[in-house]
């Protein structure tokens, strides 16, 4: 596995970690406006690795989940990559219950699997959009997104397309995990950006810090 120091300096890693912290805080606040819950945040973690090592790395974090649900969105601007939001088994159904409780009505005529997929897509859109949007805003970039892809309650290797990533690329993985205080919902958000963004990212991080010097 590649050493993070070969790609980002210690200071660049710390800035990126702090930006992820700020950005996911915004995601949680946006989600808390839709669902009456408190999202317990964790200290974000940054790691650099070969893209081919990524599926096993992610697997290491979700090994306690017998099944997962996943929302994935690609984003591109000068900062580009994949956002992968992974929920523990049962989180989708729990989110459906929480959202139905919020609007007081629900859509009982819709089959549960469609409701679950739509709910995960909506929650994923909020969390990914707010997080990636805030990071890029702080780094003075603008990104566009592909529509979210949702995978509901699958085994890990069925959910993650192992051949999905270009094996020659380096990935900077920004990871944060979250738990809802009310309701049994938990998961991880991984932002994976590759070599194409590294040169721009290093310069953007330098400019960001310059405001504080």
């Amino acid at each position: 596995m590649m050493d993070i120091q070969e790609v980002l300096t210690g200071e660049e890693t710390e800035i990126l970690q702090e930006l992820m912290n700020i950005a996911f805080g915004k995601s949680a606040a946006d989600l808390a406006q839709v669902i009456d819950t408190y999202v317990v945040l964790s200290v974000p973690f940054i790691k650099v690795m070969q893209v081919t090592d990524l599926p096993e790395y992610v697997k290491g974090h979700v090994r306690d989940y017998n099944k997962i649900s996943l929302v994935e969105q690609k984003f591109w601007g000068r900062f580009r990559g994949d956002a992968i939001l992974i929920f523990s088994s049962g989180s989708g159904k729990e989110l459906v219950k929480m959202l139905q409780h919020e609007d007081g009505a629900g859509c009982e005529s819709d089959p549960i699997d469609i409701l679950e997929s739509e709910t995960l897509m909506e929650v994923g859109n909020i969390l990914i959009g707010a997080c990636v949007g805030r990071i890029t805003e702080l780094l003075k970039d603008v990104v566009t997104y592909t529509p979210p892809v949702v995978v509901v309650e699958r085994n890990y290797y069925d959910a993650i397309a192992v051949n999905h990533f270009d094996p020659d690329k380096t990935a900077i993985v920004l990871k944060t995990d979250f738990t809802f205080k009310e309701g049994d919902v938990s998961g991880f958000l991984f932002l994976v950006t590759s070599n194409e963004s590294i040169k721009w990212l290093k310069e953007a991080l330098r400019l960001f810090l310059e405001q504080y010097e």
């Binding site: 200071e11 700020i22 915004k26």
Partner: protein, 128 residues
Amino acid sequence: MSGTIKKILIVDDSPIARKMLKSCLPKDEGLEFHEAGDGKEGCEKYKCISPDVTFMDLTMPVMTGYEAIEEIIRHDRNALIIVVTADVQMKAIKTVLDLGAYMVLRKPLKKEELQAALIRAQDTLQKV
């Protein structure tokens, strides 16, 4: 605790966040800075140096900012704790204010906001 702000304690696990915060504070007023990398170290330093103002992050390893605020307020109910956090959920803000935090500032910090908070803290300090 009375008079002017001299000693400031910054509690944040991110060295870069501590550096950013310090850069927003006035440099020519003879302030004395102390730093801690988690809530537990923050509590220990608080008890040791009795800062006039403490800046406290919330999401930290070892001991969270919530736990640290509780412990510091138990030790000194007049402690002036300014929470500086990325966690901008309303429930988080309400919780820390209920615990006894003086005010909440959102990350990333803006110099003007931080300096306004310090002026307000100074006024409060002079009334205590």
